[in-house]
């Protein structure tokens, strides 16, 4: 069973699943302080700015979700569900069963998980008073973060899909030497 690609905010904050709200707060403040220090000491390029923005947004979201009992429980439940659905779909695929219904269910759960925990709640956390105080998050951060988070979400979606069973086409068997020759021939041919 694979859980990579499904963000784990406990892991992000270096916490156990049973961590108390106080521990969540301490871990968040420590990590955020370190991050703000890193930002101050680094020459900012557009790439680094996006990386820092993403990291800051994730820490805010981790704190926002895990310090609240209901949000934390819902997050754990949704994450366990999407991981379970992926495993069930994979197993059914390997057994050669008709997996279309299962695939659709998994895809819906995956999109929901990514949209909720890798975009919506991250942006919501940026408007939380405690997060704003610790990270100095402001509307200009949110404007940039919307774009960064959308890229991040889609990248994760794609990475997860890369490891899933093929369903739109039969499983390809690629001969890379043949592909290299094909690329050379296509470059040499001057069009139609």
């Amino acid at each position: 069973m694979s859980d990579s690609g499904y963000i784990n905010y406990f892991e992000l904050l270096g916490l156990e699943a049973e961590a108390k709200p106080g521990e969540v707060r301490n871990a968040y403040k420590k990590l955020m302080k370190g991050l703000v220090g890193d930002i101050a000491q680094t020459q900012i390029t557009p790439d680094r700015r996006d990386q820092f923005l993403l990291k800051m947004a994730q820490l805010n979201a981790g704190f926002y979700i895990l310090r609240d009992k209901e949000r934390r429980a819902k997050f754990a439940e949704d994450r366990a569900r999407v991981i379970d659905l992926e495993a069930r779909w994979r197993e059914a695929g390997e057994r050669g069963e008709n997996v279309e219904a299962l695939r659709r269910e998994y895809d819906g759960a995956l999109k929901h998980f990514l949209a909720t925990y890798m975009e919506e709640l991250i942006l919501e956390a940026g408007r939380d008073a405690e997060c704003v105080e610790a990270s100095h998050w402001d509307p200009s951060h949110e404007r940039h973060a919307s774009r960064v988070l959308r890229h991040y979400r889609q990248r994760q979606y794609n990475e997860i899909h890369e490891r899933l069973p093929f369903y739109e086409i039969t499983k390809p068997v690629i001969d890379w030497d043949e592909r290299a020759r094909a690329a050379a021939a296509l470059v040499a041919s001057k069009g139609a």
């Binding site: 889609q154 794609n158 086409i169 890379w176």
Partner: protein, 358 residues
């Protein structure tokens, strides 16, 4: 009460199925290929549509002697592929496409420069990123052998396989969008003439040009090449992307001549002096004599009614992708901003593209 007639399925021969699928594969046509397998496809065994009617003539091969069609047909007729296709056309629900045909279709799409289709097909096969890399490697090899034409073709194919995972609502191929990229390049008004892209030092200009016409990734790969190689590469790239480049260069010269003419008038104001006229009248007369909007209109080859600089820029970038690299925005009076030609005279790329005037 409406009458209900029962329609019977129209039998479709295996040869027709093979021919239609092979034709779509040979033309790199993903839309028709998918249509062959869709739930209401006329190739399905339970379809009541007749594929032999003119309505479906676009699915049938237009040239049965086309070598690429013959090659695709051979592939389609392989027993294991034929069996799979038959099974998919008989079953209910979404068909699973045979990967061998998708791969062949992708290669044909690359051959025919249908790069959006190629990117989608390689993406389905989950080999798009590696195919990009193979084309880059092929381009690097061509540069090592000084085969500039091949290198340009390889780099152009590699960058055209780019994919925008952040596209909404689903990831899409990243198509060349010079109209938007040119606007971004000229978004900030140059406070000093030297700030504009066209007047950058040759090396900076070259790097920016390759990034704009291909991608930052491609430009970074070319960084290690000597300047003369990159200049030759850029020239070939510009002419490949724009077969009408020489016509643009001619209009560019005309626009430069207009600017020089207006400049002469500024240098010799006494020639135009109108005895007794007030300063306001002289300014008004000068403004009327100088039709500034004629400059971008000359560059583009047609005037745009009440055209703003950005309208000219977008159309110019669409017609001649490299043109935005040799122009800049210029405010010429309180409410008139135009595009005008600008270049560094001793720049080799300017010389090679025939833009410099004597």
């Amino acid at each position: 009460m409406a009458s209900t007639a029962t329609l019977n399925p129209v039998p479709v021969s295996q040869d027709t199925v093979d021919a239609c699928i092979a034709w779509a594969v040979s033309r790199g046509d993903m839309v028709n290929f998918r249509f062959c397998f869709i739930s209401y496809s006329p190739l399905r065994s339970d379809s009541t549509e007749d594929v032999s009617t003119p309505k479906y003539s676009y699915l049938r091969p237009a040239d049965e002697n086309d070598p690429h069609y013959r090659e695709a047909l051979e592939l389609v007729q392989r027993p294991e592929i034929r069996d799979h296709v038959s099974a998919q056309l008989s079953k209910k629900g979404q068909a699973q496409l045979p990967w061998e045909l998708v791969l062949k279709l992708a290669d044909n799409a690359v051959r025919l420069n249908k790069m959006t289709t190629a990117a989608q097909a390689y993406e389905l096969l989950r080999i798009r990123r590696r195919m990009m890399e193979l084309f880059y490697v092929e381009g690097d090899r061509a540069l090592d052998d000084n085969r500039i034409d091949d290198a340009v073709r390889a780099y152009a194919k590699a960058t055209a396989l780019g994919y925008d995972y952040a596209a909404f609502p689903e990831p899409l191929p990243a198509v060349p969008n010079y109209q938007t990229r040119a606007l971004m390049m000229h978004a900030i008004y140059p406070q000093k003439p030297e700030d504009c892209i066209a007047l950058q030092p040759p090396d900076t200009h070259l790097r920016a040009a390759l990034g704009y016409l291909l991608s930052d990734e491609a430009a970074a790969r070319l960084d290690s090449r000597p300047a003369p190689t990159r200049v030759a590469f850029l020239e070939t790239l510009v002419r490949t992307l724009d077969p009408e480049w020489d016509a643009f260069a001619k209009r560019y010269h005309e626009a430069c001549d207009m600017i020089l003419k207006y400049g002469d008038k500024n240098k010799n104001p006494e020639q135009d002096a109108d005895d007794g006229a007030s300063l306001a009248e002289e300014i008004e007369k000068a403004q009327k004599e100088r039709d500034w909007n004629a400059i971008p209109a000359t560059l583009l080859g047609r005037p745009i009614d009440s055209g703003a600089w950005w309208q000219y820029l977008k159309e110019l970038a669409y017609q001649h992708p490299a043109a935005p690299l040799f122009i800049s925005r210029q405010i010429v009076s309180r409410d008139v901003e135009i595009l005008m030609p600008r270049y560094v005279k001793n720049s080799e790329i300017v010389q090679r593209l025939g833009l410099a005037i004597d």
